[in-house]
């Protein structure tokens, strides 16, 4: 509740600052013949930012430390003296009392909590007031400071633009820092896992069957061989899916850029891109309910005695269809980027349209096409939902696409939703798998971007 009030307060005070700064700038203009160095609006923004940013920083800090201060205050009360010392129970009682005090809960379950409701209510109220007062003081001090700096020759615009740039920079850093944070958390858990199971067993073992119920202190490294998972991932994502996606994507890109009349192109291209927007869980249904049984029937008809209903082929085929837009749109862009002069040159030699496409356009666009394929592979091997629904959970090292196979992502889901405790190696193995997957997709993306960059330079 209180951070929201402080937030509105910051915006309101900023608005006041904006009006005040602007009014002051206007008065400069009226009172003298001097020309303002910046427009009045910029003076307004200068004051507004000086008020809003310190207050927002305070709000962020305050909403982090205020609950702790409230807790300190409550624990110092005599009613807290007879709380149980045991952490879990104690925490439950405190949380209950706080929930009643803030109005989130109607009544208390533990009798001990009843006596604490009042101290909580009192502390929260007091710290709310403290927060608002401090925010007001900060706003007033910063506002007065910036307001008094305004002069006719004050360069408010330059400062406002600099701070806008800083805000934009922070916005772009959020995504990068989040990625680094994800990597750090993965690394931390992965190191813990490799403290229990040897990386050699993990990376090169061929038998995968972690037992979440086994003794966590003394895991059996031979059950953590991830090769079958890596193989399943590559077989489904990089082989079967690509056998579907590369020819279909490439051919549709060639048709759309070279043959399709303009009007058809305006319909087909967006329609193809809709494929990329279908939720993967819907593809998963399609794979599990339609394609997998169909392939099983085919296998039966072909004379297989006991075909699996969770074949690698079903998951791979559907994944390939999902990936088509990625391949085709990259191929489309890079074929369209080949200079028209190249095409004319070939046609003027008496080459037919299809010879021109085969021998000039596609080779010239190849780097872009390769990059698109690599991005598609990294997308396919990280894909989770289709394989969770359509592939099996049984690790199986085979090259027969009609057999059941599992992938890295399926095992991550299985291990994290399993029954093992959080610090059991079977659970932690999910992080090691995630880490390997992350590194592989990162490498693929990196290579793809490098290839695209080199190819961009080729025609400039």
């Amino acid at each position: 509740m209180s951070p929201l009030i402080l937030l509105l307060l910051a915006i309101g005070l900023g608005l006041v600052g904006w009006l005040a700064g602007r009014a002051r700038a206007w008065s400069f203009r009226k009172s003298g013949p001097t020309r303002l160095a910046s427009l009045p609006n910029y003076h307004g923004w200068y004051v507004a930012l000086w008020i809003a940013i310190p207050v927002l920083i305070f709000v962020a800090v305050w909403s982090a430390i205020a609950p702790e201060l409230v807790m300190q205050h409550v624990l110092a009360q005599p009613a807290a003296a007879d709380l149980p010392a045991f952490g879990f129970q104690r925490q439950t009682i405190l949380n209950e009392a706080r929930a009643v005090a803030t109005g989130d809960a109607m009544g208390v379950f533990n009798a001990e909590a009843r006596g604490l409701v009042e101290p909580f209510r009192e502390a929260i109220g007091r710290y709310d007031i403290v927060g608002i007062v401090v925010a007001l003081v900060i706003a007033f001090a910063a506002g007065a400071f910036s307001f008094l700096r305004l002069r006719p020759d004050f360069r408010a615009r330059n400062r406002v633009e600099k701070s806008v740039m800083a805000i934009l920079l922070v916005a772009s850093l959020v995504a990068i820092l989040t990625t680094l944070g994800i990597l750090a958390s993965l690394v931390f858990e992965t190191v813990r896992f490799f403290g229990m199971v040897s990386p050699l067993d993990f990376l090169f073992g061929t038998f995968w069957s972690p037992d979440p119920m086994s003794n966590a202190a003394n895991p059996d490294g031979s059950r953590y061989g991830a090769i079958p998972l890596f193989w399943g991932t590559i077989f489904i994502g990089a082989i079967i899916a690509m056998v579907v996606a590369i020819p279909l994507g490439l051919m549709s890109a060639i048709y759309l850029t070279q043959y399709a009349p303009g009007r058809l192109r305006t319909w087909v291209k967006p329609a193809l891109e809709i494929l990329a927007g279908v939720p993967t869980v819907v593809y998963g249904y399609f794979a599990a309910l339609t394609v997998a049984p169909f392939i099983r029937d085919l296998a039966l008809a072909a004379g297989m005695s006991n075909p699996s209903s969770e074949s690698a082929l079903a998951a791979g085929l559907v994944m390939g269809v999902m990936i088509i837009p990625f391949v085709s749109s990259m191929a489309d862009d890079s074929i369209a980027a080949v200079p028209a002069a190249m095409r004319d040159g070939s046609l003027a030699m008496g080459a037919t349209h299809s010879e021109t496409i085969r021998r000039v356009l596609v080779p010239a666009a190849l780097p872009g096409i390769v990059a698109g394929v690599m991005l598609a592979i990294s997308r396919a091997i990280g894909e989770t939902m289709i394989v969770v629904m359509a592939a099996s959970t049984a690790a199986n090292l085979t090259a027969n696409p009609l057999e059941a196979m599992t992938t890295v992502t399926v095992q991550i889901v299985a291990m994290l939703t399993g029954e093992g405790s959080f610090d059991h190696p079977a659970t932690l193995s999910a992080f090691a798998l995630g880490f390997v997957l992350f590194m592989v997709t990162l490498a693929l993306n990196f290579i793809a971007l490098r290839v695209v960059k080199r190819f961009r330079e080729a025609y400039e």
């Binding site: 040159g345 003027a348 008496g350 010879e355 010239a364």
Partner: protein, 262 residues
């Protein structure tokens, strides 16, 4: 309405355009142009930007077919056969009427592959030895052989601009055309590279019928023996290059070559 000088030597027309008009949609880009293209002489098309000289050039090997809205009326004959008739295969036509473009456009392949491209798709060479011979002959004719013979496997795009343009000429020669159309072939080149191309045009003259579109009147004067002046989609005047530049019959030609406009 085209003024044709009456002192021209009698020549056999390799290509003959009669009453040709070209439309882009509803807009008329070329208006009723008739001209004979001989093999004995280099023909230059001059005129201010947007006068239609490049458009007309591109009708001669049907490159305007690649522009969906373009439409051609009238007739253009190559050795007496109408190139816009249904019996004419555009692939065969373009093999007989080659083209060199304004900006050098070598394929992003090796020098060797750039030249071998045409002979391969038209099946002109049998076996590796014959192909090697075609590549060498074409590069020699284009005056490029000595510069590139030791690096035939390097990329064609790694050559200098002038070398790239000569590579494109060699590429056109490799399919043994009868006519070579050049669309401002030197506009992207420096004076030295330009001089080499002009020298090359002189050497090729007589073996192929050559038509060159150029912005530079000096260039037209240097390389051509016949000149056609285009203005606003019409061919205004056609005659010997020396006559066009010294004693033009039309006022507009006179104005253009004396630099009054253009």
């Amino acid at each position: 309405m085209t003024v044709v000088h009456d002192n021209l030597e009698k020549t056999e027309a390799k290509m003959r355009a009669k009453d040709v008009s070209v439309y882009y949609g509803a807009k008329k880009a070329i208006d009723d142009v008739s001209i004979d293209i001989p093999t004995e002489y280099v023909t230059a098309f001059i005129g201010p930007s947007g006068c239609g000289k490049s458009t007309f050039l591109r009708t001669l090997n049907r490159m305007n077919d690649t522009i969906p809205s373009a439409r051609v009326e009238g007739s253009i004959e190559l050795d007496g056969d109408d190139i816009y008739s249904s019996g004419m295969d555009v692939v065969q036509l373009r093999a007989r009427v080659g083209m060199v473009f304004q900006k050098p456009n070598p394929f992003p392949k090796s020098i060797y592959e750039n030249i071998a491209y045409g002979p391969k798709i038209h099946g002109l060479a049998e076996g590796k030895d014959e192909l090697d011979a075609v590549v060498e002959r074409s590069l020699r004719r284009a005056g490029l052989w000595d510069e590139v013979k030791d690096r035939l496997q390097d990329s064609g795009t790694a050559l200098s601009g002038g070398q790239q343009q000569r590579l494109c000429i060699a590429r056109a020669i490799a399919v043994d055309p009868e006519v070579i159309l050049m669309d401002e072939p030197c506009s992207a080149l420096d004076p030295i590279a330009t001089a080499k191309i002009e020298e090359l045009i002189d050497e090729l003259n007589g073996r192929y019928a050559i038509v060159i579109v150029t912005h530079s009147m000096q260039q037209a004067a240097r390389v051509s023996q016949r000149t056609a002046f285009f203005h606003l989609g019409k061919m205004i005047e056609y005659g010997r290059t020396t006559d066009i530049f010294t004693t033009p019959l039309e006022q507009r030609t006179q104005d253009y070559i004396t630099g009054r406009y253009g």
